[in-house]
């Protein structure tokens, strides 16, 4: 139905506690801010008001109470459910696909529960039907129940690791009821039947996204599998090979070019025996159980001692047939008996009784020896043959024979070879025959004329087996046919347990551990078994669930590949005639928003408390952030860096106004004259700002008052540092100094000591040219810098507006321009040489005396 509801309405009773909280809050005002203040004693004690019992203001109390009410409300779990707008049926059948493809099971369950809950208030009765194939003794029928029962039924549903049988489910759908089909999105044989039955039903699809195995098996290097990808599945998928404990033995990424791909994963030889399962995703079809987890059988191939080329030697064909399935080692007869192999293959090895004694002992203890016939065996016989052999081989189809080569006749039922396909093309042209019919000898396979092809005899706990023809193609086509491998593979399990001979031959495979939908192995709910000769046709289903089957000690895995098959491809479910289901929006959990609001209020409370304590002040306009300063420095550093000349001396000037170009031109003119007339050759004048760190590279900085009329503390400190390291600044107020010049305001932060007017005797007027005035009124420098004290003035303060004169831009006489240039040159020289020319002050007198 929907609407506003609480998950835990009882918690709302906590609101009763609010008055108590009100009381407690009033008792604990925020603690005051503690401050040291030495000058407090200036105030007479009588003037200090007595400490008052501080109470938090009423609005702060209200804020906190509201905050607590919000938290209580949030904990009670308020929810808002959007009501369904569609019609509300009286009876609703919910069909749920719970086959192997239902990998989005939690979403399907949530959708089903949402629908049931949404219709609870309307009194609708529900029937739950599942489509996964069911055992014959467990049919389902549509029973309509109320919402609560339906919910508990839904809770008990499980997806099954086998196919869906929608045709069967269609039979159970009751007529006269609305239908909602929660589908896994995979087309199946019975889907059309179901669609026809339910007509204009609602459908919600949850297409699987997990790739599934088509086939898979061990290879020489590890494991190979083909995978099919659903339409909207991932392009890449990690495929992992796991040991029984869950340890990842190897993994690789399957890349889907199209809808299917092959992945080959190498597993280190030492770990190949530990392979338990291969996983490509969640869901039972994305998992392959690997049988023979006890390890690949270890087989000793006894060296026949021949030197035949590969294609004519039996070892080669045995090797090719068995290498994917077993660990083969080529050994001599003696070494083979001492090895840990349990299965011995002897291609045409004529073993004498003495030589074979050790091996026979092993056989009696449970090993299996398989001998192949051949020329040597025909000549000498073998102690390891289950039968007493006639000397010489029986040949068919030769020039001296009137018999045709024989084909394989039949495989004796109840033996390990039972049920093998009978190829028409594999013929046997030579065979060895037994001397007598020993009743202990079993014939496992015969040729069409009834002569033995495979005979076996129990020897103690083990088996002796003879293949009556050779392992190389000289005696038969058998090694060239697929039957050869098939026969040998059938014989391999004997290596694990020769005792199982009878069982593995005839006993059915019984389900030992069933594969659950989640990919775990669990004890089976129902017993299941597969007849031994029906194994290769077995398909995973409700009667024969996928899992590990055992026969005696032998174990085999029944995977879902038996039902998907090697040609499997995801076919999207057709939805013609069905309409998409109305999805009810999930209930909105209001509690978290209430909690968020409470958190925000708490933050407000903290800030308010801090303000009340005075720890922070409201107009927090103190944005003297160092980061901003750094940023500004970086921004201004760029144009400056661009101006830097190639290490040449530069004159600096304070700029930043429209007059910059004019000043730069003046300084440029002065620089040019310096280069022409003196040994100083300055580069292009550089614009600087009082806060720059690198001022020290400029011997003299021209500071026009038009550019900057004041400086802040940091700039003043920087300028003072520049001056104390021997820098010099020429201040130009553009007019004779006086009350209107603003000199006091600009210079006060520098904290200059007393100044004096430059007199004719000052070294500044002698440093290059002998001049007697600077132009533009008096020029002021620090006192006591005339020259004899050794101190060099740091500031030259005047009002000559020199750059205009230097550049010649103002209409003045050449004499005045020359005078200004001479003063400029003197100033630069003074900055560079200091009091070096102080002795020149007396030159006039000296010259006078010389003249005398």
């Amino acid at each position: 139905m929907g609407g506003f509801s609480f998950a835990a309405p009882l918690l709302l009773a906590g609101l009763i506690a609010l008055p108590l909280i009100w009381f407690l809050l009033r008792q604990s005002p925020p603690p005051p801010r503690a401050v040291r203040l030495p000058t407090l004693k200036l105030i007479a004690a009588a003037e200090i008001p007595p400490p008052q019992a501080a109470r938090p203001p009423w609005w702060l109390l209200f804020l906190r109470l509201f905050l607590i009410a919000l938290i209580i409300g949030a904990l009670a779990g308020p929810r808002w459910q959007q009501p369904l707008t569609g019609p509300q049926p009286t009876r609703l059948t919910i069909i749920i696909d719970n086959g192997w493809a239902a990998t989005r099971w939690p979403e399907m369950m949530a959708a089903a529960k949402d629908r049931v809950e949404a219709l609870t208030a309307a009194g609708t009765r529900f029937a739950i039907l599942t489509t996964a194939a069911r055992r014959a003794d467990d049919p389902q029928a549509a029973r309509f129940v109320d919402a609560d029962t339906a919910l508990s039924m839904l809770g008990g549903l499980k997806p099954q690791p086998w196919n869906v049988d929608r045709a069967k489910a269609a039979e159970a759908v009751a007529t006269g009821s609305d239908v909602l089909w929660l589908s896994d999105g995979v087309e199946s044989a019975g889907a059309a039947t179901l669609r026809a039955k339910i007509g204009n039903a609602e459908i919600m699809t949850f297409p699987a996204r997990e790739p599934v195995f088509r086939a898979g098996g061990r290879t020489i290097a590890g494991y190979a599998a083909t995978l099919a990808r659903p339409a909207d599945g991932p392009e890449e998928r990690r495929v992992e090979i796991l040991a029984s404990g869950g340890e990842v033995l190897a993994s690789d990424t399957a890349l889907f070019g199209g809808r299917a791909t092959v992945v080959r994963i190498a597993v280190p030889a030492a770990r190949r025996g530990a392979i338990d399962r291969v996983r490509a995703g969640s869901g039972p079809a994305s998992l392959m159980l690997v049988d023979g987890s006890g390890g690949r059988p270890r087989i000793a191939l006894v060296d026949s001692g021949g030197d035949a080329p590969p294609l004519e030697s039996g070892e080669f064909y045995i090797r090719r047939a068995l290498e994917p399935h077993a660990e083969l080692s080529m050994l001599s007869l003696v070494d083979a008996a001492a090895s840990d192999a349990n299965l011995f293959l002897l291609p045409d090895v004529a073993a004498t009784a003495e030589a074979a004694a050790a091996l026979l002992e092993r056989v009696r203890d449970g090993a299996v020896a398989i001998s192949f016939a051949g020329p040597r065996l025909a000549e000498n016989g073998s102690a390891l043959s289950p039968v007493d052999l006639r000397r010489g081989a029986r040949a068919f189809g030769g020039v001296m024979s009137w018999q045709e080569p024989q084909v394989v006749g039949s495989f004796t039922a109840g033996t390990p070879l039972a049920g093998l396909p009978r190829p028409d093309d594999a013929t046997v042209s030579k065979q060895l025959l037994a001397r007598s019919n020993d009743p202990d000898v079993q014939l496992w396979a015969t040729l069409t004329d009834g002569t033995p092809l495979v005979s076996a005899r129990r020897q103690g706990a083990g088996l002796l087996i003879l293949i009556h023809t050779s392992a190389d193609p000289s005696w038969s086509d058998l090694p060239l046919s697929g039957l050869f491998e098939g026969m040998l593979v059938r014989l391999l399990p004997l290596a694990d347990n020769a005792d199982a001979l009878d069982i593995s031959a005839g006993a059915p495979w019984r389900l030992d551990r069933a594969l659950t939908f989640e990919g775990r192995l669990a004890p089976p709910d129902n017993p299941a078994e597969i007849a031994a000769d029906a194994w290769s046709d077995a398909i995973a289903g409700p009667e024969t669930p996928p899992g590990i089957y055992a026969s005696g000690d032998a174990r085999r895995a029944l995977n879902l590949t038996t039902l998907t098959g090697p040609a499997f491809a995801f076919a999207p479910l057709a939805t013609d005639g069905l309409r998409p289901a109305e999805t009810s929006a999930p209930p909105i959990d209001l509690g978290r928003w209430l909690l968020l609001a409470a958190a925000l209020l708490f933050a407000v409370d903290v800030i308010v408390t801090l303000i009340l304590r005075g720890a922070i002040s409201l107009p927090a306009a103190r944005l003297t952030s160092p980061a901003a300063a750094v940023t500004m420095a970086l921004i201004f550093a760029f144009p400056l860096a661009a101006q830097e000349a190639d290490g040449r001396l530069q004159l600096g000037y304070i700029g930043g106004t429209a007059q910059d170009a004019e000043i730069a031109r003046g300084l440029q003119a002065l620089s040019r004259e310096l280069g022409r007339r003196t040994a100083v050759d300055p580069g292009i004048p550089a614009r600087v700002s009082p806060g720059d760190k690198g001022l020290g590279r400029y011997p003299i900085i021209y500071w026009p008052a038009v550019a900057r009329q004041s400086m802040n503390r940091a700039e003043a400190a920087n300028i003072r540092a520049y001056l104390s390291r021997g820098g010099m600044i020429l201040f130009d107020f553009g007019q004779p100094l006086g009350n209107g010049s603003g000199a006091r305001r600009l210079l006060a932060p520098l904290g200059l000591p007393s100044l004096q007017e430059v007199t004719r005797d000052h070294v500044l007027f002698r440093s290059y040219y002998l001049i007697d005035q600077a132009g533009g009124g008096a020029l002021w420098v620090e006192a006591d810098t005339e020259g004899d004290s050794g101190r060099v003035a740091g500031v030259l303060i005047g009002g000559g507006n020199w750059p205009a004169l230097w550049a010649g831009s103002s209409a003045v006489s050449a004499v005045r321009r020359e005078a200004a240039l001479r003063f400029g040159i003197n100033a630069v020289m003074y900055a560079l040489t200091g009091t070096y020319k102080a002795d020149q002050v007396h030159a006039e007198t000296l010259l006078d005396r010389i003249g005398e």
């Binding site: 005051p32 004693k41 400490p51 540092a721 000591p753």
Partner: protein, 279 residues
């Protein structure tokens, strides 16, 4: 401490040599001792120099001359009246700063006085810390200022003609009595009043608990500090007026320095005062 010294060196360099010449000129008439670190008519040995032609034979120092072939004259250090004495209040109230960004009042005082000492040394003046005649080298002098523990200088060591620069917050009642006592003995000086911005502005509001800076100070828990600000401002102004009157009455100068102000400006004010006729 080295950071303070470096800063003081920078300030002193910007200030230039500080000379008390005007002071000397005034005091010369009144007599007094003031070594000038150059040859003159004093009592302390200064240097030997060769006898100049035409100089009186009686000036020859025979003991020194007997050791070589030349004749030497023994020169004494020229002494002039007046010394420059520095004193920094070391009481607990000077160990105060209202925020981490500011210097303590005592540190600010030490910085100013050390820079003054450096500048005065450059001007060949005789500089000492009041009460610590042993501290002669600049680092010692600086350390002596920094580790001062007394709130008033020892009056006994000061003579007429001395100039004292006394940096303090002048919160102790002894301070003003001492100023009067010194002035009466002919000592001139500068009262360098150091204040933290918080002390001058009283920027408090809300619930504030004022704790004491030194033993014996009052404490107060104020519900609404902003209500007290007028009272405080009045008391602070009275304190300032008291100091101004005291300085004027005794012929001293009062120079104020806030710890958030530029020390260079304060220094130049002191230097201007010392080098002026009034100093």
């Amino acid at each position: 401490m080295t950071a303070l010294l470096t800063e003081a060196e920078r300030l002193a360099a910007a200030l230039g040599p500080l000379s008390l010449s005007h002071v000397h000129r005034r005091i010369m008439a009144e007599g007094g001792q003031h070594p000038r670190r150059r040859a003159g008519s004093g009592t302390e040995f200064w240097q030997y120099r060769p006898l100049a032609p035409g100089e009186a034979r009686g000036r020859v120092d025979w003991r020194r001359s007997a050791r070589s072939d030349d004749l030497f004259v023994r020169e004494r250090e020229r002494e002039e009246p007046g010394r420059l004495l520095l004193f920094a209040d070391g009481s607990g109230s000077m160990r105060f700063r209202s925020s981490e960004a500011l210097a303590e009042k005592g540190e600010a005082a030490t910085l100013l006085l050390t820079a003054l000492a450096m500048a005065a040394r450059q001007g060949d003046e005789h500089v000492r810390v009041a009460g610590r005649p042993d501290a002669r080298a600049l680092p010692d002098l600086h350390a002596a200022l920094l580790t001062s523990v007394f709130s008033v200088p020892e009056t006994g060591a000061l003579r007429a003609g001395d100039t004292i620069i006394w940096a303090s917050d002048f919160l102790d009642s002894d301070d003003l009595a001492t100023v009067t006592a010194l002035a009466r003995r002919g000592v001139t000086g500068v009262m360098l009043h150091i204040a933290d911005p918080v002390e001058a502005d009283f920027p408090f509001s809300g619930h504030v608990r004022f704790t004491r800076a030194e033993i014996g100070d009052p404490e107060a828990d104020i519900g609404r500090a902003e209500a007290l600000s007028d009272t405080y401002a009045k008391a602070w102004q009275e304190h300032q007026d008291r100091l101004g009157t005291m300085a004027a009455d005794n012929g001293w100068a009062l120079i104020r320095h806030r710890t958030d102000a530029d020390p260079a400006v304060t220094l130049s004010a002191i230097a201007r005062h010392l080098m002026s006729e009034a100093g």
